[in-house]
Symmetry: C2
Subunit: 218 residues, 2 copies
C-alpha cells in the first residue's frame, strides 16, 4: 500500500504513529506531497482526495482512503486484533468520542488558526483567509488544552485505561500547536506530564521531533 503524506505535519504524523504501533511501516511506500507548492490542491491530488488534505492511503487494488480516523480504522483492523480503536462497544464509543473531541476542540481548531490567522502554507495555498474566525479557533484550542488537562487528571490515557487513537489525535493537536507556536499553558501540568510520557513511546518520539523543522518552513 501507498501513503501520500508529508513527514512532520500533524495529520500525517497521526498515521505514522498508527503504522509504528501496528508494526506496519515496512508494508508502506510513502509518497511525499509538496504542501508549500500547493500540490495537495492540484487536480491530480484532488482526484485522490477531493477534500485536498493529507494523508491519503492507496490500497493495492487502487482503493483510496483519506481522513485519519478512517485510515486508522482500516490499519487497526488489518490484523483482526484492533488495539487502537477499541475492542468492546464501550471502548469503541469512548475512543471515537474522545478522538473526535480532540479534533474539534484542539487539532482542527489549531488548523483553522494556522490557515486563517497566520501566513499558513503561504499565499499559493491560503487564497481565502478569515482572520477573525482563525483567532476564535486559537482561543478554542487553548480551552481544549485545558479540557484535556482536566481529563488527564482523572485517567492515564485520553479515552481511559489504554493507549488509543484518541491519544494519537491529541498528540497530533499538540504537534500542530508546536508548529504554530501555541505553547501548552503552564497550569496544564497533567497534559504536560502525559505528553512527556507519550514521547517515551518509540512510535511517537520521532514524530514530535520531526515536526520541529516543519515549523520553521511552514
Amino acid at each position: 500500500m501507498k501513503i501520500y503524506d508529508r513527514p512532520g505535519f500533524p495529520n500525517p504524523a497521526r498515521i505514522r504513529i498508527v503504522l509504528a504501533e501496528k508494526q506496519l511501516e515496512s508494508r508502506v511506500e510513502f509518497i511525499p506531497i509538496d504542501l508549500i507548492g500547493a500540490e495537495h490542491k492540484s487536480p491530480a491530488f484532488l482526484q485522490k482526495n477531493p477534500s485536498g488534505v493529507l494523508p491519503v492511503l492507496e490500497l493495492d487494488d487502487g482503493t483510496l482512503i483519506s481522513e485519519s480516523t478512517a485510515i486508522t480504522e482500516y490499519l487497526d483492523a488489518l490484523d483482526g486484533a484492533p488495539t487502537l480503536t477499541g475492542r468492546t462497544p464501550r471502548e469503541k464509543g469512548m475512543i471515537h468520542m474522545m478522538s473526535k473531541r480532540a479534533e474539534l476542540e484542539l487539532l482542527d481548531a489549531v488548523s483553522v488558526y494556522f490557515h486563517h490567522a497566520t501566513p499558513g502554507l503561504g499565499p499559493d495555498v491560503e487564497i481565502y483567509q478569515n482572520a477573525e474566525w482563525g483567532f476564535r479557533q486559537r482561543d478554542k484550542a487553548l480551552k481544549g488544552m485545558h479540557y484535556f488537562d482536566g481529563i488527564l487528571r482523572t485517567r492515564p490515557f485520553v479515552a481511559g485505561e489504554v493507549f488509543s487513537m484518541a491519544d494519537i489525535t491529541v498528540i497530533g493537536g499538540l504537534i500542530f500547536a508546536g508548529i504554530v507556536k501555541l505553547p501548552l499553558p503552564a497550569e496544564c501540568d497533567a497534559l504536560q506530564a502525559w505528553y512527556a510520557r507519550m514521547q517515551e513511546r518509540p512510535s511517537v518520539r520521532n514524530r514530535v521531533t520531526m515536526s520541529e523543522p516543519a515549523a520553521a518552513s511552514a
Copy 2:
C-alpha cells in the same frame, strides 16, 4: 440507556435512524433537550457533553458518549454484528471516510451556515456569529451536494454496495439543508433519486418528515 436529544434535528435524527436500523429503540429512554432555550449550553448539560451539542448517549453505568460517529460505533457493536460501520478493514475505512466527508463537506458546513449566517437557534444561543464564514460554508455545502451526486452516479450507496453510517450522515446533511431551506440543486438527480430511495426505509422515513416542523420553529 438514555439518549438526550431533540427529534427533528439533524444529528439526533442520525442516531434515531441507527436505533431503528438496529432495532434498539425500545431499549432507550429519550430525554428531550430544549435547544431554543439554550439548554444544551447550560452548565448541567455541558457536564454531559462539553462540546454543547446533541445527541448524548448515557449508559446504565453512567458512561456518557457524545458525537454521532462514536454513538453509532457503540450501538452498531452492541450485538456483535455490525451492519452500519463495516465488517472488513476496507469497509470500515470506506464508511468512516465517506461519513467524515459527509460531515465536512455537507452536514457541518450547513450547520455553520445555520448558526452563523441565519438567525440560527435565536439570540440566546447565537451569541457570536461570523456571517462571512457562514456564507462560505453554505457554498461549500452546495459543492458537497454535487460531490455526493457524482458518487451516487457510480454506486448505490454512499460508501459502496451496502447501506451504512455514511448514508445516514448524508441523510443528516440533507435534513439540515431542508431545515435551512437550502434546496438540492435540480441537476443533482442521482443524489435526489438516492434520497427518495432512502426515504423508503422505515428507519429514515419518519425522520425526514419530523424535521419539517423544526424548520418553521428553528
